[in-house]
Amino acid sequence: MLGKLTWEAVPWNQPIPLIAAALVLAATLGALAFVTATGRWTYLWREWITSVDHKRIGVMYVLLGLAMLLRGFIDAVMMRSQQALAVGHSAGYLPPEHYDQIFSAHGTIMILFGAMPLVVGLMNFVVPLQLGVRDVAFPTFNSTGFWLTAAGALLVNVSLVVGEFARTGWLPYPPLSETAYSPGVGVDYYLWAVQIAGLGSLINGINLTTTILKVRAPGMGYLRMPMFCWTALASSLLIIAAFPVLTATLAMLGLDRYAGFHFFTNEAGGNQMMFVNLVWAWGHPEVYILVLPAFGIFSEIFSTFSGKPLFGYRSMVAATLFICVVSFMVWLHHFFTMGGGGDVNAAFGIATSIIAVGTGVKVYNWIFTMYGGEVRFETPMLWALGFVFTFVIGGMTGVLLAVPPADFLLHNSLFLVAHFHNVIVGGVVFGVFAGIEYWFPKAFGFRLHERLGKAAFWLAFTGFWVTFTPLYALGLMGMTRRLQHVDVPEWRPWLYVSAAGVVILAAGALVQAVQLVVSIRRREALRDVTGDPWNGRSLEWSTPSPPPAFNFAVLPQVQGLDAHWRAKQAHLAQPADKPRYEPIATPRNTATGVVVGVFATLMGFAVIWHIWWLLAAGFVGAYATFVVFAWRDRDEDEIPAREVARIDRARLAGLRARETRA
């Protein structure tokens, strides 16, 4: 009846996962109780869960990403403290069986369930606003993509209490991940969580690519799009090209594990290096999927907070597309140490360092964007400057690792760990925090508290360097990654410093939480009535904060780059014509996405535990949901012209009030 699932699947004798699970459960029940007590279920269901509004979906993605970022950070705290404690004869507090799950979960969660939803959420929220349109190309599809991602995240967290997570690292290299060496359900949790969430990512890539290619405001030619849209396009194209590779690779591993195939096994002609090649053919583009939108965010910020157009816009577009294409030609640098020979290693080493040309051009263009500008050091700009410093150094150590003889010494060492945190934290995480700080007033109608934001930045920046500089040194001393205990006493002081850095990072996370609470409490004082709190340049700043469901009362007519800036300059010269308001059709909410998400979770759980009837039931349910959706009678609601006019006049009144004050 329940497949392999028994009471023994719950680790009753291990206090750490049980306490963690109890805390998560308590927090969830607390949130549910709060919603019930305040009678907000209807609001939550109508306005968020079933919403197909790209802005709401974007916010939900970001919330999911932040929650998973916290979960992954707790894993990081456990890893750094375990290594600091388990030096010499001490075994620390985490046995290998548990420690191995933690670093595997840390990587999986941070990349696929933390960074991905954060980046995708910002793209979802911002791109249609910047393009000057009312929605994405496929609103219900978009909602389904989000709920599939959430289903994957849920499965990863269920593995904390029911069964175990993979003990193979965040990329389950065979043969370790084959049934012979990992007979438990850990790798299966990984496989199905990532497969379901990967489908969500693919859906999002298709939706955003179509939106950017086909749905733009009148006059918004490709070379008038804000830089963030370009990077979102490059990232979405990479998603479409790369995620199917991941899906196919994990499907092959799944066939090995479930149906006795031999794609990657030791026996019967399987080849483990085929998996390694294929998974990195996805894995390397994946890091650009994450970091290109971050480049876009920084482009917006450098330009806005310098009061200047982005320097070398066309160069930036070229560099973005250059990185997009070349990122597919470098995957082998993740395993120079397989002994591929001089020619193979040299070719991929040179291809890898060529990517740095595109990135280098971007850095110089950001620097020249500040040249001759009027630089304001508000919180988003601090993150941007911190990013340049951190990312350039991380990029440099990355190019160093692209030199095969150097990689022979540093591969899989803590130097490598320090390098990729240097680019992913310094690039993606700093970018996402900068983006949240920058677009928060747009999403919620009030700014985040400035001084707390700056404090959070300085703590994160300092904490980052205190945590990871010792890892560079340890890597040079020959310390490899993923060690549950450490046998060299000389490494101890460095591990202590690194653990202290984590404390600083934790303080930064706490200040960010406090910043959110304080900002919500003081929201009236921080209110943004103009829709344009930063003196912005692109079209999202020409809508009210928060934007109405239809985004733009009247679709903007785009004349060139920096459309909103242009409009502001023109309006100063002569007041705009009286706008003509018309009724607007918006897509109807639907529960399709969330219901499919529930069925996908059940199917994933069923296949992990071999509960075949539940798998069949989940599939039938998901399919039926699609059929119901396909036979819908109405798919749009109409907002009357009167309502559109009322909302837009309120925004114009706010703008006039600011002009008279100025």
Binding site: P175, V185, G312, A346, Y364, G372, F389, M396, N412, D487
Partner: protein, 302 residues
């Protein structure tokens, strides 16, 4: 390349390199016993390529970071001396420079990568000196220990490999179960150990000494204990050691191998007095079956 490597750093006069030399000294002081403190020619050349590449990049990265900081501070909103150019968004000349700088760096680095990848290809034999012939050692990564087979001496050891100082070492490496990476930080770079595949790595220890080795590719729950020692001894002592090892200890035949291939952690070093001929090839061709993995029912949820 190999002989000239170390001179490359010390012999140069550019300021970037001098700055780097200072940084390298500081790092090396903190990182003794690491990859920047090599004890053989391979490690030395790899370390020197690493430092050369770092020098080339730092020569560009440091001015870039200073420019970023300088522009941000000079053009701050409150600075009334800064000349504002709010429409300055394009300059062909700057664009040319902006594309050229990284291109030039990559041109240099590309040359370094090409030459280095070939001259330091792990499969490339090291030059032999008279009286110090290349020592053949076959390596099998097991769960979770290292087996070293000396085909010429006809003996084997676990978790410790004794080698003659000053002689080139030719390691042929495979895995009996999951992937591992064979890594001796002070002797030079690593290479993967993969089931059904053979990789070749050449290393050399210049002088007698003990060097820590470890697996660099995560291989399961016993991974942290997958360490070994490379004990480099004078050639005469090596011969004595081999004779002593042949005189005592168990023999490594198919049955002993099957017992060894079972999962175990933290195994203390020991030697086998003899080895079944062709054992390494039998592991490689899977005539001897791959390691059995965990005993059934040991893992949660299975």
């Amino acid at each position: 390349m190999r002989a000239e490597g170390p001179k490359g750093v010390a012999g140069s006069r550019t300021p970037g390199r001098l700055a780097l030399a200072a940084a390298a000294v500081a790092l090396a002081a903190g990182c003794s016993k690491g990859v920047l403190d090599p004890a053989g020619p391979v490690g030395r050349d790899e370390a020197s390529i690493t430092l050369n590449a770092l020098a080339i990049m730092l020569a560009v990265v440091i001015p870039t970071l200073l420019a970023a900081l300088g522009f941000a501070v000079w053009f701050r909103a409150g600075n009334h001396r800064a000349r504002r150019r709010p429409d300055f968004a394009y300059s062909g000349r700057i664009e040319l420079v902006v594309w050229s700088i990284p291109l030039l760096v990559i041109l240099f680095l590309g040359g370094l990568i090409w030459v280095g990848s070939h001259s330091l290809d792990p499969a490339r034999p090291l030059p032999e000196r008279p009286g110090a012939p290349t020592e053949e050692i076959q390596v099998v990564a097991l769960d979770w220990k290292w087996l070293f087979i000396y085909p010429r001496e006809g003996l084997a050891s676990v978790n410790e490999v004794v080698v003659p100082a000053g002689a080139p070492l030719r390691f042929q490496i495979t895995s009996a179960s999951v992937m591992n990476a064979f890594f001796v930080p002070r002797l030079g770079g690593m290479i993967y150990a993969m089931n059904g595949m053979r990789t070749t790595l050449h290393l050399q220890a210049d002088a007698p000494g003990a060097f820590e080795g470890r697996s660099a590719q995560f291989s399961g729950d016993g991974f942290a204990d997958m360490r070994f020692t490379v004990r480099s001894v004078p050639p005469a002592e090596f011969a004595r050691w081999a004779a002593g090892a042949r005189a005592a200890g168990p023999t490594l035949d198919a049955a002993a191998y099957a017992a060894l291939a079972r999962q175990s952690r933290g195994v203390a070093p020991f030697t086998y007095r003899g080895v079944q001929p062709g054992l390494f090839e039998q592991v490689l061709s899977q005539a001897l079956p791959p390691g059995p993995g965990p005993a059934a029912g040991q893992h949660g949820g299975s």
